[in-house]
């Protein structure tokens, strides 16, 4: 069931403080978070979070397309990386 619109998106409050601090520092930083349940807000765009998947903190580089999704969606807890085969990785 969808969340009521009047409530607004859910986000753990401390993420906002950390995002502000990371943005103000202007450095190359990863914000480690455990809050997989938090919604990705527009003010997170451009930042990199390390989202815990129960095992390690997977880097999540937030882009505009990810706004509205939850952090946990980008840090799977059950992973099968598959075969490298001819897959390519683009450096961002």
């Amino acid at each position: 069931m969808a969340r009521s619109v009047w409530k607004g998106p859910f986000v753990d409050g401390y993420l906002l403080n950390k995002a502000d601090a990371a943005r103000a520092s202007g450095r190359n930083e990863i914000i480690r978070i455990w809050s997989r349940r938090s919604t990705i807000l527009p003010q997170f765009v451009g930042l990199t979070f390390g989202v815990y998947n129960g095992h390690k903190f997977l880097p999540v580089q937030v882009t505009e397309n990810m706004v509205g999704h939850k952090f946990g969606e980008f840090s799977p807890t059950r992973t099968f990386s598959g075969h490298a085969a001819d897959r390519k990785a683009k450096r961002g």
Binding site: G13, N28, F74, A89, K90
Partner: protein, 189 residues
């Protein structure tokens, strides 16, 4: 530490009685498995595939005596679990700032001072940017985003990448026990 042969797929169970087989393709675009030309297996045999349906292919064994089509179910059953490889140099060159995952895995990682950090064990991409997992003996794996800031240089010929590990900002010390909800109205304001 580039491999000379790349595993691209595996032959599965026979399909029908005319020698067709199911093929599991590991290629980025599954249909491109046949585009690389003849494939080889663990025994050194060369094979050519031709798609006959979704994931179903006809196999031709290539030998010095000439091509031999696999034409019956028994011959197809003999190919079950055959791994299909392609030579690395038959893959097309990647675009600028693009790398084959198989080329990256195994590269040595060094920090900016040239100190070893480990070797690239895995390349992750779950829709939020590519990241490299660097493993060293006796240390937890280091995960770094595959960006120009974090990985300033990749030298495939020398077999190493230069890594500038991002500073970690842990969100534990001031993590509250309760959650805040950001109202859309406040956000807009």
């Amino acid at each position: 530490m580039a491999q000379t042969r790349i595993l691209l797929g595996v032959i599965g169970r026979p399909h029908g009685v005319r020698g067709l087989v199911r093929v599991v393709s590991y290629a980025d675009d599954p249909a491109s498995l046949v585009a690389y030309g003849p494939l080889s297996d663990d025994k050194g045999r060369r094979l050519r595939l031709a798609w006959r349906g979704d994931g179903i292919a006809a196999v031709t064994l290539l030998s010095d005596a000439g091509p031999v089509a696999v034409a019956d179910r028994d011959a197809a059953a003999a190919l079950v679990n055959t791994r299909l490889y392609v030579e690395r140099d038959r893959l097309p060159p990647p675009d600028e700032d693009e790398y084959y995952v198989t080329d990256l895995i195994g590269l040595a990682a060094e920090d900016e001072a040239g100190r070893p950090l480990g070797r690239i064990r895995a390349v992750h991409d779950y829709g939020a940017g590519v990241s490299l997992e660097i493993a060293a003996d006796g240390a937890p794996p280091l995960l770094v985003p595959f960006t120009r800031a974090a990985v300033p240089s990749v030298d495939l010929a020398a077999g190493h990448v230069r890594v500038h590990p991002p500073r970690v900002l842990a969100a534990t010390e001031d993590a509250p026990t309760d959650a805040a909800t950001v109202s859309l109205a406040e956000d807009a304001a």
